[in-house]
């Protein structure tokens, strides 16, 4: 194996990891600022200019807190839970194309860690694994409320995975490939998939809210019924990991939605820009556009959280199985028929 290849990938992984952590960190700050904005308050403004250092102060606080492991809990699994939550949150970034390839000194560097030909399914697999962190943590706490919450999380994730998978199938009928790189390249310029799959996108984003346990689907963290949720017994940075994993999940699912439906790093007029600024700056502008889309989605996540109240559990199940799933199946069938007709004539 080429040693420069390994170094190149290692640097890319390190950068992506760092960026996801920083974005997750500042998402906590953004969440408070957005909440404050929507509720006509100021939000955090003490630590640094406009409260910019608030996430650092929060992180420091998390690390300094006393670490409590409940006596009758399962010590190993109690520690594995948050770690697993973080791991599954982070590994999804590996297949996302962050930009078109950069050419530096005759060497083409793709801005994607790996382009496996089942990239969409890989994302789907990571999503289906993400429930383990919550389940193991909730069970190992040896607390009835944590267990109930963990089981809620599991059944919610499984239910919404079905509709999510079906909405992806309709998308795959349009794109004809499972590789994320090819999906993005197929949306060159303004041919974004959301124009061809509007219903599929709406289904996908609703399921993404449910999979990331964000409001209005944050039933695993339903304080009024479950004390705190699956992390009731957690303290210090272990609790921090769970909260942090939620923000990383939000970032990754925003990136996936931008990639699958909103053209990834493509934007109208990109060829003209690429021609005029060269093969290094051009792709980086594309990356900046992708991040702008991601931030827009993260803002949307927060906007919804502070606007819509939480569902009841039966409403959640009703929505998942009796509304989203039939709609997703209808979407698959309609897409199939339309494609067949278009290809015929």
């Amino acid at each position: 194996m080429d040693i420069t290849f390994v170094i190149e990938k290692f640097i890319l992984v390190a950068i992506i990891f760092g960026i996801s952590l920083v974005i997750a960190m500042y998402s906590t700050y953004a969440e408070r600022k957005v909440a404050a904005f929507l509720q006509d308050r100021l939000g955090p403004d003490r630590a640094g200019p406009a409260g910019m250092f608030q996430p650092l102060a929060d992180g420091l606080k998390m690390f300094m807190k006393e670490e409590i492991i409940p006596t009758h809990s399962n010590k190993w699994l109690f520690m594995v839970g948050p770690g697993l939550a973080m791991l599954t949150a982070c590994i999804g970034t590996a297949v996302i194309p962050w930009g078109s390839a950069i050419t530096v000194g005759g060497r083409v560097i793709p801005l994607q860690v790996t382009d496996i030909n089942v990239g969409v399914l890989y994302i789907f697999g990571v999503v289906s694994l993400s429930v383990y962190g919550v389940m193991i943590g909730g069970w190992a706490s040896n607390n009835k409320y944590s267990l109930l919450s963990a089981i809620r999380a599991a059944s919610q994730n499984i239910s919404y995975e079905v509709a999510m998978g079906l909405s992806i199938i309709a998308l795959l009928l349009v794109t004809n490939t499972l590789s994320l790189k090819e999906i993005v390249e197929g949306q060159h310029g303004w041919h974004w998939n959301v124009l061809y799959q509007p219903l599929g996108f709406i289904l996908f984003i609703v399921c993404a809210f449910a999979e990331t346990n964000r409001a209005p689907f944050d039933l695993p963290e339903c304080e009024t019924e479950l004390i705190g949720g699956y992390h009731t017994e957690y303290s210090s940075m272990k609790l921090g990991f769970y909260l942090f994993a939620e923000y990383i999940n939000m970032f990754v699912s925003s990136a996936v939605m931008s990639t699958l439906y909103f053209g990834g790093y493509n934007y109208p007029g990109m060829d003209w820009v690429l021609l005029h600024v060269g093969p290094v700056i051009g792709p980086l502008i594309g990356t900046a556009v992708l991040f702008a889309k991601i931030f827009a989605f993260i803002f949307f996540f927060m906007w919804v959280r502070w606007t819509i109240p939480r569902f009841r559990y039966d409403q959640l199940m009703h929505l998942g199985w009796k509304v989203l799933m039939p709609l997703a199946i209808a979407n698959v069938i309609i897409t199939g028929i339309v494609i067949a007709i278009v290809e015929k004539f």
Binding site: L77, I116, N117, V118, L121, Y122, F124, G125, V127, S128, L129, V131, Y132, M135, I136, W139, L147, A150, I151, A154, S155, N157, I158, E161, L178
Partner: protein, 165 residues
């Protein structure tokens, strides 16, 4: 390189399968089983069957084992409410285990070593080729197995219905 990776992963598969049996706590058993399935996924990748690998990942690790874990967590099995096994059951277990070992050794001795398997197309496991095979020559068995799954689904829904049908 390839063979040593295979032996390492194969060792891990067997090790974690044994841990599934030897773990005292049923929830630990299931967690070891999940790790075992993960090693199977690695095996599929080593065989260049990426589609099977990722489907194994999604279906077994992501869905079926979550349901296993779900049920076991709710049952809350532990030492206090474990049914007592009498001495007779243990003796019967030992005898049955010995019989199984004898049968396995006998059948292993009887089989001749097969010729090394040569893959006709090394890229058969990639999703494009697999799809062409499944929807081409193997269309009928593929569709029939979907009917099997549908039957199982209808059966499961019927079982959960409380009223008499």
């Amino acid at each position: 390189m390839g063979t040593s990776v295979f032996y390492l992963v194969a060792f891990l598969s067997i090790f974690f399968s044994l841990m599934v049996i030897f773990a005292k706590n049923p929830v630990h058993s299931v967690l070891y089983l999940i790790v075992t399935f993960f090693t199977f996924t690695v095996h599929y990748i080593l065989l260049n069957a990426q589609f099977l690998a990722v489907v194994n990942f999604i279906v077994y690790m992501g869905a079926i084992m979550v349901l296993f874990l779900f049920v076991l967590m709710l049952l809350n099995l532990n030492k206090d409410n474990e049914p007592l096994k009498s001495g007779l059951v243990k003796v019967v277990g030992i005898v049955a285990g010995c019989c199984l070992v004898v049968t396995l050794i006998g059948s292993l001795k009887a089989t001749a070593a097969s010729n090394p398997l040569v893959l006709q197309n090394a890229n058969l496991g990639l999703v494009k080729n697999l799809g062409k095979e499944l929807f081409g020559p193997f269309m009928l068995p593929f569709e029939l197995s979907s009917i099997l799954l549908l039957t199982a689904m209808v059966g499961a829904v019927l079982l959960t219905k409380k009223e008499k049908v």
